[in-house]
Each structure stands twice: as structure tokens, then as C-alpha cells.
Symmetry: C2
Subunit: 206 residues, 2 copies
Amino acid sequence: MKLYTENYPAPNPRKVHIYLAEKGLSVDRVHTRMAERQHKAPDFMQKNSLGQVPVLETDDGKFISESIAICRYFEALHPAPPMFGRDPFDAAMVEMWIRRAEFRLWNPMGQVWINADPRTAVVNPNQFKDYGEHSKKILAGAMKWIDRELGDGREFLAGKQFTMADIVLLCGLDFAKFIHQDIPEEAQNLRAWHARVSARPSARAT
Amino acid sequence: MKLYTENYPAPNPRKVHIYLAEKGLSVDRVHTRMAERQHKAPDFMQKNSLGQVPVLETDDGKFISESIAICRYFEALHPAPPMFGRDPFDAAMVEMWIRRAEFRLWNPMGQVWINADPRTAVVNPNQFKDYGEHSKKILAGAMKWIDRELGDGREFLAGKQFTMADIVLLCGLDFAKFIHQDIPEEAQNLRAWHARVSARPSARAT
């Protein structure tokens, strides 16, 4: 297998890297340099017509895009330790929190990045700056909402175990910080969670 | 179990309804009337602090939000017929296409609905109309991209079987039509897929 991927701060590749570290798996990596637009090159677009990393090439030469799809593929091949839940309800909580992290936090974060960050203005000259600025408020609101949800004292996002949902939220928050949208000072539950999760070897190595 | 849900055209509840019909499962339903803001009532917010339907109440009184998380819960309890893939690679394709349908099509569709549709201006007076209009183009581009992807002649979105990915795309496209963003005329593969999938009893009943 081969993983076409990019380094930090690219948030989607990082999800897969943390997942693999947590599972103790290693996969050959092909560094796909986004700054050189290698993810938009014709031969790469054959692998993923969206021109995005990461992409996994399987042993029989098939391609899987989307970080969570790649992780679920590894999970099916290597179920232990479980990163997508330990029973039907637990698995539902992991899926629910992956999606909440994506739709509530990653989506407005993407809007800030695309529409309000000067670093993307080069490839996206048609920025909607008003909407990008507005999205900063939505993003901060999402962080405060997750902070309240964590107020019940649970250790990890989807319950007692570290799961894929924590990885999604962590990579989102760290990318948000990269675009200058840090966790609000008052969101103490979320800050404590972030410190706890960031201390894991898998997060520190990626 | 109890499913707190809403009728057509609410697209997220409909995903669960089609899924249940395909599986031959029935669940008690509590009609949560969005027009009466029942999904924002304090007792409902206890079930899902985001104030969204659908929500599943399990037999032991726990709550699951997010349509795909609800469907994955049913899938773990009732694996046949499989709606999330038949082997690791197939499951990865289903997950990949669920996410592509959501991030590429549902996301800009949501922006059109929130920012450019007069029917949401009542609850969202701060519409970003320019961005809503721009999102119509992104949405049409997504439909054309999926149309090209279907050009290899496969019957369903993630391969040879009807899966959850088809349900996500169908509910997206039908809601897009509800907000006057129909499939482009030239997207013949996507139109043929839509006709094929819409003819299924599960789709016609919801």
C-alpha cells in the first residue's frame, strides 16, 4: 500500500497520520507537495479527480480518497484497538461526533480559510471576505458549544475512549489555530481536552 | 426505540426513512414539527443540543443525533442487507462517496438554502446573498463532477450495489430541486442515476 500525503499543517492528511500512529501501523508514504501543486497534476487527478490528499493506493492498485474512508479501510483490516467504537451505541457516538466536528467546526473553519485568509487569495482571488469574517464567529461559537458538551467531565469527545472523533476535532482545532482562530480563553473544558489529547505520542509526532 | 423526525422535504430525516425502508425496519416515529419550532424547544434540545432532527432514542433512553450515525447504529444491529459496504474496500467506497456527496454537494446546497433562499430569510435575516448566489455555481459544478464520475457506467454511486451513499446523494439532489437547483440538463449520467434510484419503493414512499 502507498499513502499519497502531505505534511503538517495539512489537516486531512494529519488525521490519517495520527490514526496510523495510534494503531501502530506504518504505510509507505509518497510526499505530495501541495505548494508545488502536485495534487493537481494530471497523474494525481487520475487517483482522485478532486485533486486532494490524502489518497491511499491499495495493494491491488485501487484508490481510496477521503481521510475517514482511508481510516475505516485500515480499521476493517486491523480492528484492534478500536478507533470507531466498541459496540453499536459507542460506534454511533463516534460517528455522531466525527460529523459534529466536521459540520460544526471544520465547515466554518474552511470558510475562514477560503474566504478570509490572505494565504488562499492567490489561488482563490474571488474571496467573499464578509462571509469569511462572519465564519470566524460561527467557528468560535462551535468551539464554545463543544466546550459546553465536554462539561459533563468525560475524558474524550465520544466517551471514555480516545477515538477517531478526537482525531478529527484535534486536527480541526490545530488548523484553526494555524489560521489564527484559537480556542476561546473561556472554553476551559475544550482547552483541557486539547492539552490532554495533544500530549499523546500520536499527536506530538504529527 | 423512537425516532424524532420530520416529513419531506426535510432532507436529513428522509435519509433515515429511506434507509429503514430499504432494510425493512420500522421504528416508532415522533413527528417533530419544524414549522412549529418543536426542534428548538427546551425538551428537544435536551435530546440534541443542536436542535436538529432526526434524533433516535434507544430502548435504554439514550439519544443519537446525525442521520448517518443513526443509520450506522441500525446497521450494527441489523447487518443484512448491507448498506455500508460488503467488504473493506467496498465499505471504504461507500464512506468515500457519502463524504463526497456531503462535502461537495450538500455543503454548497446548504449555503444556497441559508444565504440565498427567501424562505430562510425569516430565521436568518443576516443572509450573505452574494455567497449564496456563488454557491449555486459550486452546487451545479458538483453535479457535473458527479455526472462525469458516473460516466464509467456503474449502476450505483459507490459501485454495483445500492448503498447509503446513494441515499445521501438522492436526498441531496431532491432537496436541491426543492430550492430550485435542478440537475443540469447535460448531466445525463446523473439524471439516469436519479431516475433509477427514484424508482425504488423506498424513495417513492418517502
